[in-house]
Symmetry: D2
Subunit: 87 residues, 4 copies
């Protein structure tokens, strides 16, 4: 099994009101050194065999992101938790 990660974020010029809400809530936690918060999506795709970045890009284009308002990035992920971490 091999994991591919797709990060999808609104384009920088598109307002993100949910991130804005988090940023506006920070002073009440005593946090004053945060300039901005942006909330996007992280998608983990597990391939049964070899990880396929081209396939993942095609999936992102059609089912995960709207290229008019969002940017995405596809990359090999760390191994799934089920991987043997010992020895």
């Amino acid at each position: 099994m091999a994991r591919v990660v797709v990060d999808v974020m609104l384009k920088p010029e598109i307002l993100d009101p949910q991130g804005q809400a988090v940023a506006n809530a920070l002073p009440r936690l005593g946090v004053s050194d945060v300039a901005s918060v942006r909330i996007g999506r992280r998608i983990e795709i597990e391939f049964t065999g070899e990880p396929d970045l081209d396939r993942a890009r095609e999936i992102a284009d059609k089912l995960l992101a709207n290229p008019v308002i969002e940017d995405y990035e596809v990359r090999l992920g760390e191994q799934p938790e089920s991987a043997d971490k010992s020895s």
Copy 2:
């Protein structure tokens, strides 16, 4: 400016119907070697000064993730796009 990234995913034992929908749609794209798709959130926090991982963890605990159903991971992010990439 320094970026901290918070990745929030549903715990592995919690069903993710939105990811399931994407997985179920893949055969129509001719994709048959994907075992699972999980959809979470990626949050980018820009600090005005030094990046503060402890602060980011506190923000995640209170405003970004529900620890009963979600796991999160906090890490230093790559530099924001506005960084000078030349030279």
Copy 3:
């Protein structure tokens, strides 16, 4: 064409940190009479023929909601915007 609307909300006993963030940001807007904010999903399903509430429930069960942590409600929607609104 007929629309069915599925409203999906986290169960009341499940913490909603994104709604909490919005609630915490309200005092800065001068709003002090809000007790809570909860953020869920609204899904609009357009049927080509008769609206089918049983079908919509099946879709919700399998692809839209996680019944362990979410409640959903299925109902006939108002007519899509494409409907002729003039008399």
Copy 4:
């Protein structure tokens, strides 16, 4: 306590890949009479006193929706579950 509901949907001309994924997954459930699926957000705001639609609109404008890509609708909600439903 009084509930105001804010429904936020992507504008009709904006592609919704998550809804598209659900629509594409339907044939595998044996569903063939769905023309489209759109996924938006439903926000429930509980006011401590009188429900305030103008306030809710201001909150939606600033913290819940991005008016460039989303439409929203504000309306009085049904009573919260905590309301006495008997007699």
